[in-house]
Amino acid sequence: MINKNIILYAAILFFGITAPFIFPAFKVQLSILCVLIILAMTWNIQGGEMGYNSFGNILFYGLGMYLCASVQVGMFFPLAEWTESGGEKTFVHTPAQFFQGFGVGLAVAAVVPAIVAGLIGYSILGLRGHYFAICTLGLGVAAGEISGGIEIIGAGQGFTTPPFPDFGGLEARGEFFYFCSFISLVLTFIVVKSVYSTRFKLVLNAIRDNEDKAEAMGIQTMKYKIIGWMISAFFCGLAGGIMGGLVGYIDSTDVAFDGREMGVFMVLMAILGGKGTLWGPIIGASVFHIFKEGFWTFFLGWQYVALGVLIVVIVIYFPEGIMGWLREKYPERFGEVVDEADRKAQVELK
């Protein structure tokens, strides 16, 4: 079993490293896929394992995006003048400045959302069920609307991130952002997997199944909920920072706090793949991204209609997701002991 896992991970790692060279035309798509997987996996910590269906993780994503770009610019140039000049590039980053700024920016983009999550966590995570869902939905939209009114980060006209430095015609932008997002993905996977293999996951599941009983058993549920949210926020912010650099342009409601796209996508991907599993969000995000890229062009102009229909169909007819379906089909693979006679009896009963 262990051998099989190692081979699997090695294969994925190998594929991940060589992918931009095998499919050079899809570098940007692959980077976006990595970001989507990060978002789905971190959403799954709340929505899947903890039973707190958050629409507000987009807050950390957008926050990370703005922070990373602001730090990258603000470290070397006056930020207000940068955003005021819009697309006009009066200031140019040297390569050293660019990478230095981006590195520091990413660190800030990851740490600050985690701190924010810790600060607001005590208030927000005390809400339960649909109140939590609506409250986080409000949080995400409020952040988008308010950031759209702040002058120094571009307000309504948006914020262009620094362009990738030119190395004498050598095109390295795609590879750079791909490896950034891939490394973050690997990091996310390692952290989430190691967290899931400890008592932490059991506590989260206990909160999902019955929070009152978990509390009665002496578990400080609030502490675990906040830590879970902080982990999510950390990686959401990281993903946002990378995505900001990749897209090259930040708009408050269309790119950063994009509740209508990213905010729903992360929920949808996790549900599609199977809530509450390690691999579910990864599979869900990959399937969703392939579907989206493959069919969006056919639905040109009708994407949101297709998205709306997709949400309704998945939620109503497919709430267990791909992993849930596999689990029903091959329970033995998931380490469940199935009593053949009992199963037959159940089938006959149906």
């Binding site: 609307e145 308010i146 009114g149 549900i271 949400i311």
Partner: protein
């Protein structure tokens, strides 16, 4: 500012109250379906906007948009029944989150379909009612706002009487109290649910028609209305009608002041922020008694 320019304060208060009555009407629909079916409908605001476009279309074809107040709820009733039959009846008994997500999907769908059908422009159905001037023309009130507040009150009173007196109204109230017991006693709950959703959609239609006369409508403006009505319902509580009316007006006044003080670009943001603050406040209030919102 509040004391420096008293006329602006009066203006904001009156505007807010007239606006708040409209919000209360939408919130009443939300309270109804929440109480009866235990569903939170994110597409509520989009139903409002759709109702507004019906009135706007009548205006385009030369009919006075005020007739939309009659026509729009009738059409919206059937739209509501259609949505119920297609989607909602599959999520009624399920987890609340599923209903939230499913109606969120409907909301996105409606938003985009309206965008295709009517274009992304901000539109207004001009009623030509003129304006009323108060206090030496220091306070300006469009008559359409007064008209819309009046119509909303009439509709709300009619609905309350209907819920009290009619057979269907009694069935709806019985289902809200205990769906299972109502079923045992011969109430066709499936029908009651469909009717409830239809009535909710019709209320949204009325409100939408009034909004298209008084304010402006736009395909993407739905979500703020959903959030406002949700906020009003959680502040007032389910089944507390005077409370819904009062908190609706309170929200309207708050919004007008936010508009004046912070500027229009923060108006929607402040509504959503207020929602978060109210929920957090209630959470701390309840946690003192070792309870939580449910």
């Amino acid at each position: 500012m509040v004391f420096q320019y008293p006329m602006i304060t009066v203006q904001a208060c009156l505007d807010g109250i007239l606006l708040g009555i409209l919000f209360a009407l939408i919130a009443y629909g939300m309270a109804l379906q929440w109480g009866v079916m235990n569903i939170i409908n994110i597409a509520q605001g989009d139903l409002v906007i759709l109702g507004g476009y019906i009135a706007y279309f009548m205006y385009l074809y030369g009919i006075h948009p005020a007739w939309g107040v009659i026509v729009s709820p009738i059409i919206m009733y059937f739209v509501g029944i259609g949505i119920y039959k297609l989607v909602i009846n599959k999520v009624v008994d399920r987890d609340l989150f599923i209903s939230i997500l499913a109606t969120f999907g409907i909301s996105i769908l409606f938003m985009q379909l309206m965008n295709f059908a009517f274009g992304a422009d901000v539109v207004l159905a001009n009623s030509g009612y003129g304006t009323t001037f108060l206090f030496d023309s220091n306070v300006v009130l469009p008559n359409s706002k007064i008209f819309s507040a009046f119509v909303s009150i009439v509709f709300a009173i009619c609905l309350v009487i209907y819920m009290k007196k009619s057979k269907l109204g009694r069935a709806i109230r019985a289902t809200a109290q205990n769906a299972r017991a109502a079923k045992i006693l011969g109430v066709d709950t499936e029908k009651v649910y469909a009717a409830t959703f239809g009535i909710n959609a019709a209320l949204c239609g009325v409100a939408g028609a009034l909004i298209s006369i008084t304010f402006t409508i736009h395909p993407y403006m739905g979500l703020p209305y959903t959030i406002r009505s949700f906020m009003i319902v959680i502040v007032a509580g389910l089944g507390n009608l005077p409370g819904v009316a009062l908190s609706g007006m309170g929200l309207g006044v708050f919004e007008e002041f936010a508009d004046y003080i912070l500027g229009t670009e923060f108006r929607i943001g402040s509504v959503f922020l207020l929602l978060v603050l109210i929920l957090v406040y209630r959470r701390f209030k309840l946690s003192k008694k070792r309870e939580y919102l449910k």
